[in-house]
């Protein structure tokens, strides 16, 4: 068992970890970097795992960065290793290999925790049956892809981002796909009632059965230990050879328990508590992505924002700060973009108008198109665009810059809305490139 020493240790090889490598290298070309991940793969685009099932992306297309990335950035990857026994004072961790064997002890000066999320699995019998899976990593996606040949019926529990994307992917490969969601709308975090209805329509039009206000209460298997059917709350029986559980993701922070790194209260979902620099309560130890909190520029508070752009930018800022710069992560909010069967939908900030003084909403509704902004004292705090998404980013920019829309509020959702109509200073700023990340 050898001891290796690196200036920077990054736990996680997804958006946050890679963002951190790129952030460090922007400032420090030389300092040694190690990246540790319990997944044995070259860095891949996690949100694309369902596309691998759908078939529009192949295994190579999953690469988040070219295969030369680690060498090109002078990074030592430890892939297929889990980190444990973090000693925050001695600045070391131990690596455990896939088969459980202890590997190197790694000493470090600065560390980033970007361990991501883990699926929330409800207490239910039958979830250990063959053909039952979560959908948060490449292994699960590859496993489902292998089984597709003998799957005629699939059930997806949960209609969040993972559930909807999984149902869409399966619909291209499996005869009967049913998506079951307890809430009355799908993608509850990124839709309102109208845009949810439109998305549901896109699913149904493409042959996916969508059951709302319902859930799975029982999972049954055959004599070979394979899933054969699920029973819903209302008694409906759905035969299935594949059952995907996608009801939520929790921060993956077990690695930090008892180490002194402060976690946020479970009432707010847990996660590593960080400041705007992405640093934890322990100097030199940073966190980002699905395992950590981030500043939401709409609400002004710190919260979980388990979204790819937040993970990457949080990691990048952490990396620059680890290397001695001083930046703050102020570019995160609830923001999402999806395309279901050719129906595009983007959203940011609040989806529903908070029931408080000063808030108002403006909507525009047509047959195949819907848009909405939520304003607080004329500053945009929520955006939904469904059916037509071109130029959505201009609104996001106005949200981030907290621009008062008073003088152009009436045009906000009209065809006339454009940069040219914005107040002079706002317009001139938009025309310039973004030079600083704050």
């Amino acid at each position: 068992m050898a001891t290796k020493k690196y200036k920077y240790l990054i736990i996680g090889n997804s958006a946050g970890g890679i963002g951190c490598v790129e952030g460090i290298r922007r400032v420090d070309k030389k300092g040694s970097i190690a990246v540790v991940s319990d997944e044995k793969y070259h860095t891949y685009s996690r949100p694309l795992i369902t596309h691998l099932i759908e078939g529009d992306v192949d295994r190579r297309g999953m690469d988040f960065r070219p295969r030369t990335f680690y060498r090109g950035h002078d990074v030592q990857p430890y892939l297929g290793y889990r980190a444990q026994d973090l000693d925050t004072e001695g600045r070391s961790v131990t690596l455990i290999s896939e088969n459980g064997g202890k590997g190197n002890t790694i000493r470090f000066e600065k560390m980033l925790v970007a361990t991501g999320g883990k699926p929330f699995i409800p207490p239910m019998e039958g979830l250990d049956l063959d053909g039952v899976t979560a959908m948060i990593n490449l292994d699960q996606s590859l496993e489902v892809r292998k089984k597709l040949g003998r799957v005629q019926n699939a059930v997806v529990l949960g209609a969040g981002l993972i559930g909807t994307k999984t149902a869409q992917a399966l619909s291209h490969q499996v005869d009967n796909v049913t998506m079951v969601e307890l809430a009355e709308r799908i993608l509850a975090l990124v839709t309102d009632a109208v845009s949810s209805d439109m998305a549901v329509e896109a699913f149904r039009h493409s042959g996916v059965q969508v059951l709302l206000g319902n859930t799975v209460t029982e999972v049954k298997g055959d004599s070979k230990g394979r899933v054969s059917e699920v029973i819903l709350k209302d008694g409906t029986v759905l035969p299935c050879e594949l059952f995907v559980v996608a009801i939520g993701v929790r921060p993956r922070t077990e690695f930090l328990e008892g180490t002194g790194v402060a976690l946020a209260n479970m009432k707010v979902g847990g996660g590593v508590a960080v400041d705007l620099n992405m640093e934890t309560n322990i100097k030199g130890i940073y966190a980002c992505g699905d395992c950590a909190h981030a500043h939401d520029f709409v609400t002004g508070g710190m919260r979980l924002l388990p979204l790819w752009p937040n993970a990457y930018i949080g990691g990048r800022i952490a990396g620059m700060n680890m290397a001695g710069s001083s930046h703050q992560h102020k570019w995160a909010t609830n923001m999402n973009s999806v395309d279901f069967f050719g129906f595009p939908m983007v959203s940011a900030g609040f989806m529903l108008k908070p029931d408080k003084k000063g808030f108002e909403e403006i909507t525009r509704s047509e047959k195949d198109r819907y848009s909405k902004v939520i304003l607080k004292d004329d500053v945009i705090q929520g955006l939904i665009m469904a059916g037509e998404v071109d130029r959505a980013g201009i609104y996001l920019g106005l949200m981030r810059e907290k621009v008062k829309t008073t003088s152009f509020k009436k045009e906000l959702l009209t065809d006339d809305f454009a940069v040219v109509h914005l107040p002079f200073e706002v317009k001139e700023k938009i025309k310039q490139p973004i030079m600083e990340i704050e």
């Binding site: 694309l48 959505a392 980013g393």
Partner: protein, 147 residues
């Protein structure tokens, strides 16, 4: 870093830069065929008008490219040598995260075939980008800037 700017006072709002951007990124690269025989691609430059004021806007190739940071497929990156923000069209899956991230509204949804985002690529292979060359009033110019 090459960057294209518009001179507001000189732009006459004729939209020819949009037309020639579409031609340049069409299959045939022929103006007649592009609009007669093909489904024309979206323009990667947008002319905005408000009475006498008009200007064209396209990707600013930001030194801090939010679109690249947000891309879930690793399909947008900043060239280390030139600073240019480049989209790898083969890797793009058309999720529109970059469309939402670009605060200039400079990335468009191309829905002609497999769904792809479309942004200014500074016309690789051309000495001068098509929009600049074809502007009848010289309202567009390209500058080399630090990034």
């Amino acid at each position: 870093m090459k960057r294209i700017y518009a001179i507001e006072e000189v732009c006459i709002g004729c939209h020819l830069c949009e037309v020639y951007c579409q031609v340049e990124h069409s299959r045939s690269r022929n103006i007649i065929k592009t609009f007669k025989d093909e489904v024309p691609p979206p323009s990667r430059i947008t002319v905005e008008e408000d009475g006498p004021v008009s200007f064209a806007l396209q990707c600013r190739h930001c030194p801090e490219p939010y679109c690249a940071y947000a891309c879930i497929a690793g399909a947008i990156y900043q060239d280390e040598q030139t600073g240019e923000v480049i989209q790898d069209r083969d890797k793009c899956i058309g999720c529109w995260t970059c469309v939402l991230s670009c605060t200039k509204g400079a990335i468009r949804a191309d829905t002609r075939g497999p769904r792809k985002a479309a942004k200014c690529d500074l016309c690789p292979g051309r000495e001068t980008p098509a929009c600049i060359e074809m502007c009848p009033n010289d309202a567009l110019y390209i500058v080399e800037e630090e990034f």
